[in-house]
C-alpha cells in the first residue's frame, strides 16, 4: 500500500466536499401533465390506473349487452359498483379507475349509475332528515330509489417473478358485469400490465 500525505489530504477533502454536497439538496417541485408517464418504483401508479380505465370503458361500451338491454327494456341499464377486491401484493387504491369508469359511462348517456351501498346510507340519512326538517314541496319521499340492473365487480391480481435486482411484475385486472336478475355475467373486461423493474446496485 502506498500512501503519500498530499494524496490523503486531497482524498479527505474530497470526501468532505462530497458529504456537504449530499447534505445540500432541497425540495424541488415540477408540475406535470396528468397524462405524462413517469415510472418511479415500478409499483402500481396513476398511469396503470388510467390505462385500465381507458381500456375497460372502451370495451364495456362496445359490447352487445348494452344494445340488447336497451332494445328489450327501452331504457338505459342502471349499474351499481360492487366490490373490486385487491388480491395483489400491493396496497392499491381501486377507487381511481372505478370512478374513472363511472364518469365515462355516465357521460356516454348510455348507462345510469346508482349509488353504491356505502354512498347510499348517507343519502338515506339525508332523506330521513328531510322528512323532519324540509318543506312539503321540496321533501323527497322514501322508497323511490332506482334498483340496479347490473353489478360491477372485479379483482386485481399480481404475479411477481424476481431474481437478484431484476423483477417482472404482472398485473391483471378483471372486471365483471353481473345481471342482478339472473346472475348472468354479461360482460367481462380484462387488462394486463407487465413491467420489468431493474434495481440499481449502486447509488451515489
Amino acid at each position: 500500500m502506498t500512501w503519500t500525505l498530499p494524496k490523503i489530504r486531497t482524498s479527505m477533502l474530497m470526501v468532505l466536499v462530497l458529504l456537504f454536497a449530499a447534505a445540500g439538496c432541497s425540495t424541488e417541485v415540477t408540475r406535470m401533465d396528468p397524462g405524462e408517464v413517469k415510472d418511479l418504483s415500478g409499483a402500481w401508479n396513476d398511469t396503470d390506473s388510467q390505462q385500465v380505465s381507458e381500456e375497460m370503458i372502451k370495451d364495456v361500451l362496445d359490447r352487445s349487452w348494452l344494445g340488447e338491454f336497451t332494445r328489450s327494456k327501452k331504457r338505459q341499464p342502471s349499474v351499481i359498483v360492487g366490490e373490486v377486491s385487491n388480491l395483489s401484493h400491493e396496497h392499491i387504491n381501486v377507487n381511481t379507475f372505478v370512478s374513472d369508469m363511472e364518469r365515462a359511462l355516465i357521460n356516454s348517456d348510455k348507462v345510469v349509475f346508482v349509488a353504491s351501498s356505502t354512498e347510499r346510507q348517507e343519502v338515506r340519512d339525508e332523506r330521513m332528515d328531510q322528512d323532519l326538517n324540509a318543506s312539503e314541496a321540496t321533501r323527497k319521499a322514501m322508497g323511490q330509489e332506482t334498483g340496479a340492473d347490473f353489478m360491477l365487480k372485479g379483482t386485481i391480481n399480481t404475479i411477481i417473478d424476481a431474481s437478484g435486482k431484476t423483477q417482472v411484475r404482472f398485473y391483471q385486472v378483471d372486471l365483471t358485469l353481473i345481471s342482478l336478475v339472473d346472475n348472468r355475467k354479461v360482460w367481462v373486461g380484462q387488462k394486463k400490465i407487465k413491467k420489468l423493474v431493474e434495481r440499481s446496485n449502486l447509488r451515489f
Binding site: 500500500m1 500512501w3 503519500t4 500525505l5 462530497l18 385487491n86 400491493e90 437478484g164
Partner: protein
C-alpha cells in the same frame, strides 16, 4: 506544513463530530425508560429527536411505527412502517460515497437499511396492524409481500440461518385461511413447519402445537390423506376429521414480550509498530529514526440481551383458559444474524485500522522534515487521537422489537367478552394482569388482540 496539518486536523475533527460521540444504542436509554413506564407519548417525543438523522432514518421510522402500535394507533403506525419499507427498498443500492466514508471513519456512516430479519418483521407488524384494524384485504397484501421478501433473502444468502421466518409464514397461513384460500394456507403452513424445524436446530425452539393442529386439519380438509396421516405420525397426535371444517370464530392473542437485544461496543486499543508503508521520496530521510508506534483501535459490536421476567401469558375468558406459546425468538435470530455478519465486520474494522495506521505513519513522516520536534510530536498525537475517536462500532438495530413473540388462540362463540391476560414469570407466578373489556368476537372471524410487555429495566449501561 503546519497549515496542512491544521487542515487535516480540522477535517478529522469535522468528521468526528459527524460520526457523533455516543454510539446509536446509547441514545436509546430515555426511550426505553419511557416505554417501561408506558409513557408512549413521551417516548414518541424522544424518538422524534432522531427524525433528522439521514443515515438512521429507517430506524426512526421503525421505532415510531412500533411505539404507535403499542399506543394502539394502528393507522399511523402503518403509515410510518410503510415509509420505512419504502426507504429500505431505496437503500437496496449501495452508496458509493457512504461506503468510501465508512472505510475512513466507521460502519455507522452507511445508511441503515435494516437487517434481513428486521425487513421481514416490518411486514409482520404491518399485517398485525391491519388484522387488529379488521382489514383482512390489506393484511393479505402484507402476507404476499413477506413471501417476496423471503424469496429475495433466500436467494441472496441461501446458507444463512435466517432464510425463512417461521412466524411470518404461520401468520400468512392464518390470513389465507381466513380469506378462504385453503391451498395457499396449506403451502404457508408447510413452509412454516419447515422453518420451525430449522428454528429447532438453530435456536432450540419447539414446534408450536397450534401449527401441528393446523397442518393436520387443513391437510384433511384438502383431502391430502397421506400427508395428514404422516403429520399425525410425526407429531404423535390423533385428530379425527371434524364434520364442519368451516371457520370458527376465535380470539388470537399475541404477546410481544420484552425488548430485542441491544448492540453494545467492545473496543480493543493497542499500540502497534506502524504498518510497512512506502512513503514516496521522503521515506529515506526517516529511515534512521525509530518509527513511532501507531494507535490501533478496533471497535466491534456485540449483542446484550435485555432481561425479562415474563415467560409467557395466560388468557382466560369465561372459565376457558389457554397459555401462550413461543412463536418467534427475535433475540436468538438477532444474535445469529450478527454472528453471521461478524467476520465481515471484523475484516472491515481491521482494514480501517490499517488505513488509519497508514495515515498516522504518513503524518509522522511528513513532520519529520520539520525542525520543530514539539510540533511534530503534537501533530503525531493529534492524528492518533482522531483515528481512535472515529473508530466506533455500528450498534444500530431496531430496538423497539420484542425479545420474543408468543401467541395464544382461543375458540369462542360470537359475542362480546372481557379478556383477562395474566403475564406469568418463573414458577407460574403472576407478574402483571390486564383486562381487555368488551372484545368483540364476530362470526367465522379471527379477532386479533396484541400486547407489548416491557419490563422495568435497570439501566446498567457501562460507561466507556
Amino acid at each position: 506544513m503546519a497549515c496542512r496539518l491544521a487542515r487535516l486536523f480540522v477535517s478529522f475533527a469535522l468528521v468526528g463530530t459527524l460520526a457523533g460521540c455516543a454510539t446509536y444504542s446509547d441514545s436509546f436509554d430515555n426511550i426505553q425508560r419511557d416505554l417501561s413506564a408506558r409513557q408512549h407519548d413521551a417516548a414518541l417525543q424522544e424518538i422524534e429527536k432522531q427524525a433528522g438523522s439521514k443515515t438512521d432514518h429507517v430506524l426512526y421510522l421503525l421505532n415510531k411505527g412500533m411505539v404507535l402500535r403499542m399506543k394502539g394507533d394502528f393507522v399511523d403506525s402503518n403509515q410510518s412502517l410503510e415509509s420505512a419499507k419504502e426507504e429500505m427498498d431505496s437503500l437496496y443500492a449501495a452508496s458509493i460515497s457512504e461506503n468510501a466514508l465508512s472505510f475512513l471513519i466507521n460502519d455507522a456512516t452507511v445508511s441503515y437499511a435494516g437487517d434481513d430479519y428486521e425487513q421481514v418483521l416490518v411486514h409482520l407488524y404491518m399485517a398485525l396492524n391491519y388484522l387488529e384494524l379488521g382489514n383482512q384485504t390489506d393484511a393479505r397484501v402484507e402476507a404476499l409481500q413477506v413471501d417476496i421478501k423471503l424469496r429475495e433473502i433466500g436467494e441472496n444468502i441461501p446458507d444463512s440461518k435466517f432464510t425463512e421466518d417461521a412466524f411470518s409464514r404461520y401468520l400468512t397461513g392464518l390470513i389465507y385461511e381466513e380469506s378462504g384460500e385453503w391451498s395457499d394456507a396449506m403451502i404457508a403452513y408447510r413452509k412454516a413447519y419447515e422453518a420451525y424445524k430449522k428454528y429447532q436446530v438453530n435456536f432450540g425452539m419447539a414446534i408450536p402445537d397450534m401449527l401441528k393442529h393446523d397442518l393436520i386439519r387443513l391437510a384433511q380438509r384438502q383431502g391430502l390423506k397421506n400427508e395428514a396421516a404422516q403429520y399425525m405420525k410425526e407429531f404423535g397426535i390423533e385428530i379425527l376429521q371434524e364434520k364442519k371444517p368451516e371457520q370458527e370464530s376465535e380470539l388470537v392473542y399475541i404477546l410481544n414480550n420484552g425488548l430485542a437485544p441491544i448492540k453494545r461496543e467492545h473496543v480493543v486499543s493497542m499500540w502497534a509498530p506502524p504498518p510497512v508503508v512506502v512513503v514516496s521520496k521522503s521515506g529515506k530521510k526517516s529511515s534512521n529514526v525509530t518509527p513511532m508506534p501507531v494507535l490501533v483501535n478496533i471497535a466491534l459490536p456485540y449483542y446484550e440481551s435485555r432481561p425479562n421476567i415474563v415467560l409467557n401469558a395466560r388468557i382466560s375468558v369465561f372459565g376457558k383458559q389457554t397459555d401462550s406459546q413461543l412463536m418467534e425468538d427475535v433475540d436468538a435470530i438477532a444474535r445469529a444474524s450478527l454472528d453471521a455478519r461478524m467476520p465481515a465486520i471484523t475484516a472491515r474494522s481491521i482494514a480501517r485500522a490499517v488505513a488509519k495506521g497508514a495515515i498516522q505513519k504518513s503524518v509522522d513522516n511528513a513532520g519529520s522534515g520539520n525542525n520543530d520536534v514539539g510540533a511534530q510530536l503534537i501533530s503525531s498525537l493529534v492524528v492518533r487521537v482522531a483515528a481512535a475517536a472515529t473508530e466506533r462500532a455500528d450498534t444500530r438495530s431496531w430496538l423497539t422489537l420484542p425479545s420474543n413473540i408468543q401467541m395464544a388462540r382461543l375458540p369462542l362463540s360470537p359475542g362480546s367478552y372481557d379478556i383477562k391476560v395474566e403475564l406469568l414469570g418463573a414458577d407460574g407466578q403472576t407478574v402483571a394482569t390486564r383486562v381487555y373489556p368488551g372484545v368483540e368476537i364476530t362470526k367465522a372471524h379471527k379477532t386479533y388482540l396484541s400486547q407489548h410487555w416491557i419490563p422495568d429495566y435497570q439501566i446498567t449501561r457501562r460507561k466507556r
